[in-house]
Amino acid sequence: MALETKQVAMTGNEAVANAIKQINPDVIAAYPITPQTDIVQFYSTFVANGLVDTQMVTVESEHSAMSATIGASAAGARAMTATSSQGLALMHELLHIASGFRLPIAMPVVNRAVSAPINIHCDHSDTMAALTTGWIQIYGENAQEAYDNMIQAVKIAEDPRVKLPVMVCYDGFITSHAVENLVLVPDEKVKEFVGEYKPQHRLFDFDNPITFGPLVLPDYFSEIKAQEAEGMLAAREVILEVAKEYEKISGRKYGWFEGYKLDDAERVIVVLSSAAGTAKVVVDELRAQGEKVGLLKPRVLRPFPAEELVKALSGAKVVAVMDRAETFSTQGGQIFTELRAAFYEAPKKPLMRNYIFGLGGRDTTTAHIRTVFEQLKQDQERGSVDRKVTHLDVRV
C-alpha cells in the first residue's frame, strides 16, 4: 500500500493534537499552560465535535492533571495529559508515581523555561529536571517529528517489556506555534499501529481485585526499582522496534539520533530539537566550502544511548555539545556531562566543549552556530579547548 505523501500545514501543537486524535485515548486530563495550551484546546474541539471517544477531564492544576491521568491509567484506561515548564515542575512528585506504578502514560511536554525570571519561551530546563523520574524522553526537531514521536510513544510505553511513561518533547513556540509542512499517517493506520491497550493489571477488573500503591518498605523497595530499571533497559530494544514498525506506515526513519553529514566530520555539534535544524543550514554552508563539519541531533535521552553516541562520534576530533538548560553544577549542561561520562571507557576521545544556549527563548541563529564551528576549528588547530563551558550569546 502506498504511503501517504500529502503535505499539510500545521503548527506543532496542532500536529500533536491530531496525533492524539488518531490515537483516541480513553481519558485526557486538561490543564492549560503556555505554550502547551493549544494541544488540549484543539482536543476539546475534537471532543465537542464527536470526533473522538475520549473522556476529557478539566482539573484545577497540573498536579491534579497528572493525578487524574495516573488514576485513569491505573483503572485500565489509555490516559494522557500535556504540559510545559512550571506545569511539569508542579507535577514532579507524580512523575515518580506514574513510572513507579509502571503506567504507560504518553505526555507531550512543550519545552519552556522554568521561572524565575518568569518567561514563556523555549528552553529545556523543564524536561532536564525530569530526567531522573523514570520517564522515557524523546525529543523532536519540528512538527513532523513531534507528531511521529507522539504516535510511537504510545506503543513504546505500552509494550509489556517497558511499561514506563514517555515524555514527547518539542520546542515551545519555535515548534509548537509555527506553521510548517508535515505529512500525517492515515487515521486507520495509526489506529492499527497503536492497537488496543491491554493492561496487565487494572483497578477496574472487578473479578480480579488488585491494590495499587501499597506501602513498600526497605525489604522490597529496591526490587521494585530494579524492575523499573529493567523496563528502561528493555526500552532500548523496544524504541528501535517501534521505529522500524512506524517506518512501514510512514516511510520516515527514526532511531537514537539523527546524524547529519556526520560520517567523515571532524568538527561536530551535538544539539537537541529545533536548533538542530538551524545547525543543518550552517553544516551545508560550511560543507560547500570544504569544511569537514557535521551535526548529531539526539532523539532519546532516557534511556541514554551512550554506546551509540560514542560510536557515532568516535571519528570526530572536536565536539561541541549545546545544552539548552543550565545545571548549575559548574561542569556544563546535562547532555554534555552524560556524553563525557559515556566516553570514559572509549579508546578514542574527541575534544569536547559545552555551550549553554537559547535560554528563555533567546533566538539561536545561523550566526551563532557559525561562531561555534569557528571556535571548534580553533580548538582543533590548538589541540585543546580554550574553555570547557561557555554561555553562548551572553552580553558582558
Binding site: 500545514a9 519561551h121 529545533s274 541563529t365
Partner: protein, 193 residues
C-alpha cells in the same frame, strides 16, 4: 537554499499579521511549496508592535530562527515607520511593502535609510474598509506581496486562498468574497518606486 523567500511582517497587535503569515503559509503549501509561518511572541497586546515571519521555498526548510535578513518586509501599520526600523537586515534588492495611502517615493524618504531596495505602497486599510467593511489590512497585503514577488502564479494562488478562507469562515460568504476582492484590488493597485 534555492528560491527561499523570507518575509518579515511588522504590525500592531490585532491587525492580523499572525493570521496573514498563517494564511500565506497554508495557501503556499497547497500550491506545493515548503513553508513556515510563525509570529514572535512577546508581551503582545492590542496595539503593541509585533512581528511575524514566513519562509517559502521549493525545498524542506530546517532553519528555525526568526527572519533577520528578509527578502520582503510587510508593514501593516505605517505609524510603525520611525519607532521601529522596519528596514533592518533587509537583503540587497529586497522590497518593503507598506500599507499607506502615501506614494512610494514619499514613504522611501520617510524611511530615510540608504540601500538597494524597493518601496511599494498600497492602501490596504482603505481597500479593506471598502471590500470587507473593516480595517483588516492583512489579506490585501498578501495580494500586494504576490504582485511584487511572483513566487506563485496569482490566479492559482487565489484558488487556494478561496479554499482556505472557505474552511476558515464556513458559510460566511460576504467575508470570503470581501477578502478575495481585497486581495485582487491590492494586487492591481500596489505602486512601487
Amino acid at each position: 537554499m534555492s528560491n527561499l523567500v523570507e518575509i518579515r511582517w511588522h504590525a500592531r497587535g490585532g491587525q492580523g499579521a499572525k493570521t496573514a503569515s498563517t494564511l500565506l503559509a497554508e495557501a503556499a503549501l497547497s500550491a506545493g511549496k515548503y513553508v513556515q509561518g510563525f509570529p514572535e511572541y512577546g508581551p503582545e497586546r492590542m496595539g503593541a508592535p509585533i512581528l511575524a515571519f514566513n519562509r517559502i521555498g521549493d525545498e524542506p526548510i530546517t532553519i528555525h530562527s526568526n527572519v533577520d535578513n528578509p527578502d520582503v518586509v510587510m508593514v501593516l501599520d505605517p505609524s510603525l515607520i520611525g519607532p521601529v526600523n522596519v528596514a533592518e537586515g533587509l537583503k540587497d534588492g529586497g522590497v518593503i511593502i507598506v500599507n499607506t495611502d502615501l506614494d512610494p517615493v514619499t514613504v522611501k524618504q520617510k524611511l530615510g535609510v540608504p540601500g538597494n531596495f524597493t518601496v511599494a505602497t498600497v492602501d490596504a486599510s482603505g481597500i479593506a474598509v471598502a471590500t470587507i467593511g473593516r480595517d483588516i489590512p492583512n489579506t490585501p497585503m498578501i495580494g500586494a506581496l504576490l504582485k511584487l514577488r511572483e513566487f506563485l502564479p496569482f490566479e492559482s494562488f487565489m484558488e487556494r486562498m478561496r479554499h482556505d478562507l472557505e474552511r476558515k469562515f464556513q458559510g460566511r460568504q460576504a467575508i470570503i468574497e470581501g477578502n478575495l476582492s481585497a486581495m485582487r484590488r491590492a494586487y492591481q493597485e500596489v505602486k512601487q518606486a
